[in-house]
Point group: C2
Chain length 233, copies 2
């Protein structure tokens, strides 16, 4: 396969993507100095010239990266992000990328930890925003055993405000109480503790993204806390 793929952002997730693509495409790695925040020091020209450009940078870096690659993207290139929320990156990609590139917003529902033994059976939320180039990529990923789940950025964020937002909210509440396994624990409580443990090692950056960058998160959070408080009556 002669396809060239660049991965911008070589954190844990970027490395995971690279491992799965390196046998199938010519992979270009590029890390825009995430810590220094100094994008000017990194040459993104090569990365921007690939057939597929995967943005695996934190959401806080996305605007800068989009601005830096925009002038160098080739016509027909497919730009895809992998952030945990979708409305904001979708808006940024639409606003900052030239009309001649295709755009795909994705959220892989797995990470380096859960996909340690492979990505087969895992899921990826899939929001095609411009062009049909995503179809070929979806076919390729389905071939690897991934479940590609079509949705829209708004539906995604609304659903994830419940799925991820509440999981983290509850995990935080339990952690503040020092709640752990108990000799008197019920089967139901045991599942709560397992649920909380599973998200405990998520990064502060991910947590911030889920809780503050999802436009639906605050309303869902308030509604849940009101309902839970009402259980006291």
């Amino acid at each position: 396969m002669s396809l060239s793929v660049s991965i911008i952002g070589f954190g844990a997730f970027g490395q995971l993507v690279a491992r799965h693509l390196r046998d199938h495409a010519r992979v270009v790695i590029c890390d825009p100095a995430l810590r220094s925040n100094d994008l000017s020091s990194v040459d993104l020209t090569g990365a921007a010239g690939c057939d597929i450009v995967i943005l695996a940078v934190p959401l806080s870096q996305m605007q800068g990266v989009l601005g830096a690659i925009a002038p160098h993207l080739r016509p027909g290139a497919l730009v895809a992000d992998v952030a945990s929320v979708k409305l904001r990156p979708a808006q940024m990609m639409r606003d900052l990328l030239p009309d001649h590139v295709q755009i795909l917003a994705t959220h892989p529902l797995f990470g380096p930890e859960s996909a340690r033994d492979g990505i087969a059976g895992h899921r990826i939320a899939w929001c095609p925003l411009r062009g049909r180039g995503h179809l070929r990529l979806a076919r390729f990923l389905r071939g690897l055993g991934l479940r590609v789940i079509p949705t829209t950025p708004d539906d995604h964020d609304r659903e994830m405000a419940v799925v991820q937002g509440l999981t983290h909210l509850i995990a935080r509440g339990l952690a503040d109480l020092g709640a752990g396994s108990s000799r008197l624990g019920t089967a139901s409580y045991q599942r709560l503790i397992e649920a909380a443990a599973m998200v405990q090692s998520d990064s502060p950056e991910l947590l911030r993204t889920i809780l503050t960058e999802n436009p639906h998160a605050a309303a869902i959070r308030q509604k849940f806390l009101r309902g839970a408080a009402g259980a006291a009556i």
Copy 2:
């Protein structure tokens, strides 16, 4: 075995107890007209005269039942409750039962549903309050495969304010949101939904007991809600 056991309160749990004891003791069933609340219409004398008296009535009925049986209990009889909280029934039994009876507060961590296929492997919280007659009963229950977990009413209620209180609180919050399984659900979220589903069929009476009759429940609830709300920052 010549032991006589009375079960006062023949609801779902009383029936479960009867099923497991009938082959091992002479069982006397007595239901003090829970609905009419008219204890005077029921003769508890026979039930009170047994070697072991098991109180399987709702907490709201316990004071009346204790008053009714107190004059008829034989010296050395063992009176045991099975309520989901322990401080309040322990206090009531100590206050209302004569000095010549033994007292045991218990909380079986199973019910007709979870123990459908037997009680082996299930647990019972065990708070001996007066006398040593509970030792024989504990040996008997261990012989049936039950795990007998010694604790105190205060430790029990403190631990269950987390274990049961928070499970129901969270289940209520999720139910109010209409949260259910999701195409985008993570493994952590899936466990939350399972945890909530497990307590959904608990009776309003049990819910009220757990949430309002446990002296530690309110503080734990407030602390959890504060911690969870803090996750937004």
